[in-house]
């Protein structure tokens, strides 16, 4: 076997082991049973990958190798899943597979499989190569792996300001942990992480939609469209934080909705976990957690004010604690790409000029998505309001609004920031949008049946 094939095989075995242990650990978060397997697989992958990252973090904190912590964490997760397993939860709607629709369902499943295979091909055809992987995520992961800690110079904005010391370290720790398991830094084999992120996202999307009563056809359509969504699942984004962020934002959204609708007692725990995961990947995760908390406080479906506050706390507190702990250990580097001093009254004219330029640049970039945007509008209009799905759309809308506005504050100008980030950061909102739109369409179907 060639060294490359051997490295891929070993990476695959580690990821499968982590996912399998995560699947068992998820029993503490999701009740078992028919109809819940897909969602449990998605959460299981997320938990397994988190264990790899956590093993690297514990290694930096204790000096004991990740190869010790990894099996220890998996074992702890399996035991937690066993001793705290839950059997309580709303029943999953029965299967709806009329014979005439089965060929269509088979076609959609084939489309999902094609999306996974195509992304795997794009992700694995060569080592991770995008500039942000080299300058930010890979650099930090490789530094942590090679030095057994987080080198101090990575927090020094004069030496490494361009690598964004203010970003969370979740993804670099995942790289460092995976490399430690492989005993070498292999930026080709580690690309396998990204198809794993995609599979987890698709599984959670499909499983959650089905559990919340969406028909099989709509759930499969949404999953197939997401699987084939190349702007997110591209070779370029492989290695960067957008693909894992897309997964964690979806986990946050579905957990928030479950917690507000009291689908089961562990929904709140899932929300707290998703809050940690989202804020460990990118700074947007903290922002999304804050938006989730605001949505909980403003919820009109939950009449118990105390419950609304508890959900809000579960959404924001874990993210805040993680961010505070990171800042305490690594300092608070400035956001060097942004100049929020533009909000000062004395610079109002400059700010207005930049705001106008930002709107123009945003519209220009939106024009390139001229096929996608009208399609999204039609789908949104076709559905009916459904709070359980609408919350995910509000999360996506809040993030999109920030992505559209931030170029106005870019030090290098609105054109630069919008051109380099807007398309890919917006693409990471696709899972939230897919879940929200599918939920609205499902509500229309349910209303028609009634």
């Amino acid at each position: 076997m060639s060294p490359l094939a051997s490295s891929f095989l070993e990476t695959g075995i580690h990821l499968l082991t982590a996912a399998a242990a995560g699947f068992l650990a998820v029993r503490a978060l999701h009740p078992p049973g028919r109809g819940r397997t897909a969602e449990r697989i998605g959460w299981g992958i997320a938990l397994g990958l988190s264990a790899i990252a956590a093993s690297a973090y514990l290694a930096t904190a204790t000096g004991i190798e990740p190869r010790f912590w990894f099996p220890a964490l998996l074992l702890a997760g399996i035991m937690l899943g066993y001793f705290f397993r839950t059997r309580e939860g709303a029943p999953v709607p029965p299967e709806d597979s009329p014979a005439r629709l089965r060929p269509l369902y088979a076609l959609l499943v084939a489309a999902i499989a094609a999306g996974v295979v195509l992304y795997a091909a794009r992700a694995l055809i060569r080592p991770m190569w995008s500039i942000d992987f080299l300058a930010i995520w890979g650099l930090k992961g490789r530094s942590i792996f090679s030095s057994g800690g987080v080198p101090a110079w990575l927090s020094d904005s004069r030496l490494a300001g361009w690598s964004h010391p203010e970003y969370p370290l979740g993804l670099p720790l995942l790289y460092a942990g995976t490399a430690a398991l492989l005993r070498t830094w292999d930026d080709h084999a580690m690309a396998l992480l990204f198809p794993a992120f995609q599979i987890a996202t698709l599984a959670v999307l499909y499983g959650w939609l089905r559990r919340r009563g969406t028909g099989r056809g709509i759930a499969l359509c949404a999953t197939a469209l997401l699987a084939l969504f190349e702007p997110l699942y591209s070779g370029f984004l492989t290695g960067m934080a957008d693909v894992p962020l897309a997964l964690t934002m979806l986990l946050l959204g579905v957990s928030l909705s479950d917690a507000l609708d009291r689908t089961d007692r562990r929904a709140m725990a899932r929300l707290a976990l998703a809050s940690v995961l989202a804020s460990s990947v990118k700074n947007e995760g903290l922002f999304l957690a804050a938006v989730a908390a605001a949505l909980a406080l403003l919820s009109r479906t939950e009449t118990d004010g105390g419950r609304r506050r508890r959900v809000a706390l579960a959404a924001i507190l874990p993210a805040l604690l993680l961010t505070a702990a990171t800042r305490a250990s690594r300092g608070s580097p400035p956001l060097r790409d942004f100049d929020f001093g533009l909000l000062a009254p004395s610079r109002l004219g400059e700010f207005l000029s930049r705001a106008a330029e930002t709107i123009s640049v945003d519209l220009n970039i939106a024009g390139r998505a001229w096929i996608i945007l009208p399609a999204i509008a039609v789908l949104l209009i076709s559905g009916l309001a459904a709070p359980w799905a609408g919350r995910l759309l509000w999360l996506a809308a809040a993030a999109l609004a920030v992505y559209l506005a931030l170029p106005a504050f870019a030090v290098l100008g609105p054109q630069w920031l919008a051109e380099t980030t807007l398309f890919r950061t917006s693409a990471a909102l696709a899972p939230l949008a897919a879940a929200g739109i599918a939920g609205r369409l499902a509500s229309r179907d349910a209303a028609a049946e009634r």
Binding site: R126, P127, W129, I131, L134, A135, G138, L139, R142, S143, I144, S146, S147, P151, W153, D156, R158, L159, A160, W162, S163, D187
Partner: protein
């Protein structure tokens, strides 16, 4: 990495990889001299030399660092440490060491 279309010239990648494999033990950082190198080339060097910090074309290499010259050696280079494909490794010239930023 060098085969990624349109990214980096292969010789540069070979130079970096050779330099990484032959850095003297105890090196605290790398001063990279690559005239005309753009940001992408700098980021690739930083990635290759991780966990060591890298400065691009600094006026002087900080103490304990090594100079890696892609192409011709800088005039003020110190003692040759190793000849590499496409360049060379130098110890900083006496009296030309600076402070780490």
């Amino acid at each position: 990495m060098a085969t990624a279309p349109g990214r980096f010239d292969r010789n540069y990648f070979v130079f970096l990889e050779s330099a990484r494999r032959t850095l003297p033990p105890g090196t605290r950082g790398v001063a990279l001299y690559a005239p005309g190198a753009n940001e992408s080339a700098y980021y690739l060097a930083a990635y290759e030399f991780a966990p060591l910090p890298v400065l691009l074309n600094p006026p002087a290499a900080p103490a304990g660092w090594i100079s890696a010259a892609y192409g011709p050696a800088p005039r003020a280079g110190g003692a040759l440490v190793r000849q590499l494909p496409g360049g060379s490794l130098f110890s900083p010239a006496p009296g030309r060491t600076g402070r780490a930023p």
